[in-house]
């Protein structure tokens, strides 16, 4: 089962360059280089657009995502329902717009959570090194091999029974959000550790240490700014793999609580309905372009933060 994670979240320290130059010039240089990369820039606009759609969903969507009209079930796109209707006669256009809300929040918040937790864990391992590092990494090896489906079900059950939120939308999200975070942080911990290990050996850190700077000061002043760029790059890769992983969860029946829907849920409902291509086409396209945008932006950022790229 863990292979799901292995293939779904395929990240590695070396995707991300080590940015060694210091100071603000790094950021302005990166921004300049990013602007030159047209594909990445278009992607950035697209992602901002999708985020706006997600936030403004209640005002943009022509209908509610849950209003049913059985008499108009499974209609092909027409003037009333621009992208057709599903088997309960709900408007697909509105459901895709609301789906953006769920998919994006699953993607973004899970990535941030995994990053905070996995990052802290990885940084600790990388910074302390020695036996702490190797035992922390063995723990990760172990977690990586435990069937993630078992973890997913367990975490989902625990968080669903806790009833943390009153808001039904948040309630529907928590289970899946926690489940994804629990399996997601492991790979991020590995990545951050690799980064910290690399930066730790850099000359300026050695220098700072020789000058008697305290551990926290070194981490705060030298290491953190230097791995921030790579971390942003990681986020742009982690978000789409979370969105995709959510669709896999729908496939195996551990998805979102209805009547809410994400793009993964919509795609999973749609792919069997061969006679109604609009059920898979539009959610599929939404998924596809968002994935593409995040990945292109990630590639662009990666290049932009790479100091060796200066003269290219």
């Amino acid at each position: 089962m863990s292979n799901v994670v292995a293939t779904a979240i395929p990240q590695d320290p070396s995707v991300v360059p080590s940015s060694v130059s210091q100071g603000k010039s790094l950021w302005s240089d990166a921004w300049k280089r990013l602007k030159k990369n047209r594909a990445a820039f278009v992607s950035l606009y697209f992602i901002v657009f999708v985020c706006l759609v997600a936030v403004l969903a209640p005002w943009i969507a022509p209908y509610s995502f849950e209003t049913q009209n059985i008499d108009r079930a499974l209609m092909s796109p027409d003037g009333v329902n621009w992208l057709g209707t599903d088997s309960l006669g709900r408007d697909m256009f509105s459901r895709i717009i609301y789906g953006a809300r769920m998919s994006m929040s699953v993607g973004v918040f899970t990535a941030i959570f995994s990053l905070l937790f996995g990052g802290a864990y990885g940084a600790l391992a990388g910074w302390l090194g020695g036996w702490v590092d190797s035992s922390l990494m063995r723990i990760i090896d172990i977690l990586y091999a435990i069937p993630s489906l078992v973890l997913l079900i367990l975490v989902g059950v625990i968080f669903n029974s806790l009833n943390l939120f009153e808001n039904p939308e948040l309630k529907a999200l928590t289970g899946i959000f926690m489940a994804l975070s629990v399996v997601g942080w492991v790979s991020l911990a590995r990545l951050v550790r690799g980064q910290v290990l690399q930066v730790r050996e850099m000359l300026y850190v050695e220098g700072a240490r020789a000058l008697g700077a305290s551990g926290w000061r070194i981490v705060g002043r030298h290491i953190f700014p230097n791995i921030l760029g790579p971390i942003i790059v990681m986020l742009t890769f982690q978000i789409p793999s979370n969105i995709l992983f959510e669709s896999f969860l729908s496939f195996i029946g551990l998805g979102l609580q209805p009547p809410y829907s994400s793009w993964g849920v919509l795609a999973n409902d749609g792919w069997r309905a061969k006679s109604y291509p609009h059920l898979i086409l539009f959610p599929g396209m939404a998924l596809f372009f968002t994935m593409l945008a995040f990945n292109l932006l990630g590639d662009g950022l990666r290049d932009a933060f790479d100091p060796k790229m200066k003269n290219r």
Partner: protein
């Protein structure tokens, strides 16, 4: 010299195996089972030779011991976690009367204290016995693995070959034309491989290549499912291979870009070595390390089977047991699968580490 013979002989044997597998029905009537024994023995001696020559014996032993411990902890934790999972193996839509359920649980020793169950599981594990499945009554877990894993392996190997064959050249091309239209185009193509879940990609390919939508000339070109002969392999291999291909392509591209800037490449260029030679001889070879790093988990993941691909294409592999054993709460089967998966992960990572020294002799292990 012996190392060369052993190493390239292994590659040659592997190629012969693939040829026999793909075209064997005309050539020799399939692969004789003895072939794999020869192959395995050859591989073991090649690996052994490499380890001894590279003076990595201690390193390998240490890693294997460590791996043994990790696998033991994995088995223990999984065993415990399973008992916390709500729902038992014998809960069904039609609830069994308590007496009957007690009989069944007694038969599998589930009525004993957990500590005792755990010890007896470890005991049988030490004897090499993975136990019997609860769902597939009377069928040993070892049999399920030995019957389904080879098929997942077959699917996985072809997908990986495809991934490396497509991924590496794609990455090289893109990197050599950095930030050009070609680079962007190739990368968009590669990303398309990861942009959709395989439960959409698979049926999409089936629609085009089996049912001829929208190109009716393609109708009936490839069978939509099953796993009978090479023609049946194409669509699932393509579906499974696209994802790692995309990952490898992007990895190759980015690490090539890193290496191109390195001093030794500039030196080579300055010395007037032809651009192509520099690109392939120096840059590519040095860019392979990150690609290798990601290959470890990727290989283990792909080889142990993909649930979605096996479901969508009706392939009798291990991937679906990986998921369904959990849905069925089939404890011995879940544990067996987990052990196999973690062993594969460990071995794949070890081989990757050993390969580092092949690609870059400067790397010292230990």
């Amino acid at each position: 010299m012996i190392g060369m013979v052993l190493g390239w002989g292994l590659v040659a044997l592997g190629l012969i195996g693939i040829i026999l597998d793909l075209g064997g029905e005309f050539l020799l009537g399939g692969i004789p089972p003895e072939f794999w024994w020869v192959f395995a023995l050859w591989g073991l001696s090649a690996a052994g030779f490499a380890v001894v020559r590279g003076q990595m014996f201690v390193f390998v032993m240490k890693r294997l011991l460590e791996a043994g411990f990790v696998i033991f902890v994995i088995a223990t934790l999984t065993f415990l976690l399973l008992r916390f999972l709500p729902g038992g193996p014998f809960d069904a839509e039609k609830a069994l009367p308590p007496d009957i359920k007690a009989n069944i649980e007694a038969k599998y020793g589930l009525n004993k204290p957990i500590a005792e169950q755990y010890l007896s599981y470890l005991g049988s594990l030490a004897r090499g016995d993975l136990g019997e499945s609860y769902k597939y009554i009377g069928r040993p877990v070892a049999n399920i693995i030995s019957e389904t894993l080879p098929i997942s392996f077959q699917l996985g190997i072809y997908s990986l070959l495809l991934a490396f064959f497509i991924g590496i050249p794609l990455g090289v091309f893109a990197a050599s034309k950095h930030n050009s239209l070609l680079d962007n185009g190739l990368m968009i193509f590669a990303i398309s491989g990861v942009a959709l879940p395989s439960f959409i990609v698979g049926p999409l390919l089936v629609m085009v290549f089996s049912f001829g939508v929208p190109f009716s000339a393609m109708q009936g070109l490839l069978p939509p499912a099953l796993w009978e002969s090479p023609i049946y392999y194409i669509l699932p291999v393509l579906t499974l291979g696209l994802r790692p291909a995309a990952i490898i392509a992007r990895m190759t591209r980015s690490s090539m870009l890193d290496v191109i800037q390195a001093d030794f490449v500039r030196t080579a260029k300055a010395k007037g070595v032809a651009e192509q030679v520099v690109l392939y001889k120096h840059v590519l070879k040095n860019s392979l390390i990150p690609v290798l790093t990601i290959s470890g988990p990727l290989v283990a993941g792909v080889l142990s089977g993909s649930f979605i691909i096996e479901i969508v294409f009706g392939i009798p592999g291990m991937g679906k047991h990986l998921v369904q054993s959990v849905s069925n709460r089939d404890y011995p089967l879940i544990l067996g699968m987990t052990l196999v998966f973690s062993a594969m992960l460990v071995i794949a990572n070890l081989i990757v580490d050993l390969l580092y020294t092949v690609v870059d002799p400067r790397i010292k292990l230990g």
